[in-house]
Symmetry: C2
Subunit: 216 residues, 2 copies
DNA sequence: AAAAAAATCAGGAAAAATCCCCTTCGCAAA
DNA sequence: TTTGCGAAGGGGATTTTTCCTGATTTTTTT
């Protein structure tokens, strides 16, 4: 294994994808898969054990135990020298931006052509980042109307309320759970209805689901 | 290409998965990928054009244009000699049973180990089917309490109501839409609450989402 | 055709959700 | 110091949801 071979680590809970992805990447000239992990926790352990550090990490977002967001934070904090690319099926703006803000050097959708993956890996090691046209467009779009971003950014309590609202709890029960007055909860509700242009609690649930604010 | 090589076709809209899966399958002794399709419609066209018929088809469920269910029906109808395995991330009982009823020779979860895929392909060509422990258990479970199945089977109007209830419409508006009295709608609601053990409309929405009765 | 079962619809009431306008408090900017 | 702002909370009214019980009509079974 000579020194100009770049090593890759795959973090994904779908064994079939990570296993076959390994075959694909090993077929790319100049790239070699070092190991897999099926979640962030496992990645932490294996990085500690391995003496060799990977050139690039392919990081899935939806994983059990420790998901892509947490893992991205940890990587940026503890291994700022290792570049990582997010790899996900979600193509919504919020998710993409969130991963890029957490330090991802690029964002790959799982339905890209295998050749694109090769290009992404090559550019990541050579230029330090890779942004597909779609992601670049998304970033521009986000910059362009960050006014709309305010509509879709939530305060901590709003997020908690949002998640509890997507359950069978009554508002009174939610108020108890959050140690707040039912009237305060009513305030959160009204504010969100206005901001998101929705008419009732079902709309709230649908919104939260569509925007990956909760997952069921 | 000698005659004891079994050919495989992959139907999946995630190019990255199907592309890398091809590498994996080609590395299995005795197996060779014939071609891909990214949905059922494309499969139809390519099967017509190709003179060679595949031994096995790996069929994803969630696809645009023509999904796995439709494709399974078409295959069973027009190519009963081609065996196909369902390949999906959904592990809920309803989906598994639905695919098996439509003629799938097995059901593979996308998080299986690559070695399992090899075994599945081998058993499918040799024995004609492959059922993992998990799927076998699910089938037994389904047979065991098909009473519960009645809990989870819906009449036409119940399904329509369920879908409309997952919107911002009031029950009165739903009644108008369905040309029924609001009191009838109230009856549907009450009946579903009892049968599904849920307490309010949010529970209904969550249930519908979890069981793929609607998709947003 | 008669009986049974299922679907549709109603009355009435309590609980929850929704809406609108208002007060207080703390904190920070002017 | 005053002014302004946002978060927490309140009063009170209306609409919608939820629940329970019973009646009528339609469909199915016998």
């Amino acid at each position: 294994m000579n020194s100009d071979v770049h090593t890759v680590v795959i973090v994904d809970d779908h064994l079939l994808l990570s296993g076959s992805l390994e075959k694909l990447i090993n077929s790319f000239e100049g790239f070699q898969v070092l190991f897999h992990a099926s979640n962030g926790r496992e990645l932490q352990l294996k990085l500690k054990k391995e003496s060799k550090k990977p050139s690039v990490i392919l990081l899935d977002i939806n994983m059990p135990v420790m998901d892509g967001f947490e893992t991205a934070e940890w990587l940026t904090e503890h291994h700022p020298d290792i570049k990582f690319l997010a790899l996900s099926m979600e193509d919504d703006e919020q998710t993409i931006l969130k991963m890029l803000r957490k330090g991802a050097k690029g964002y790959l959708l799982k339905d890209i052509h295998p050749d694109k993956l090769k290009i992404a890996l090559q550019e990541t090691v050579s230029k330090g980042f890779y942004h597909s046209d779609k992601v670049a467009t998304t970033m521009l779009h986000a910059l362009h109307n960050n006014n709309k971003a305010s509509e879709e950014s939530f305060k901590e309590n709003e997020l908690i309320f949002l998640q509890l609202a997507c359950s069978e709890m009554t508002y009174k029960e939610i108020a108890d759970q959050m140690n707040l007055s039912p009237k305060t909860i009513d305030g959160y509700r009204q504010e969100l209805f206005n901001r998101l242009h929705i008419k009732n609690r079902v709309g709230l649930v649908i919104y939260a689901l569509k925007n990956n604010l909760i997952h069921i």
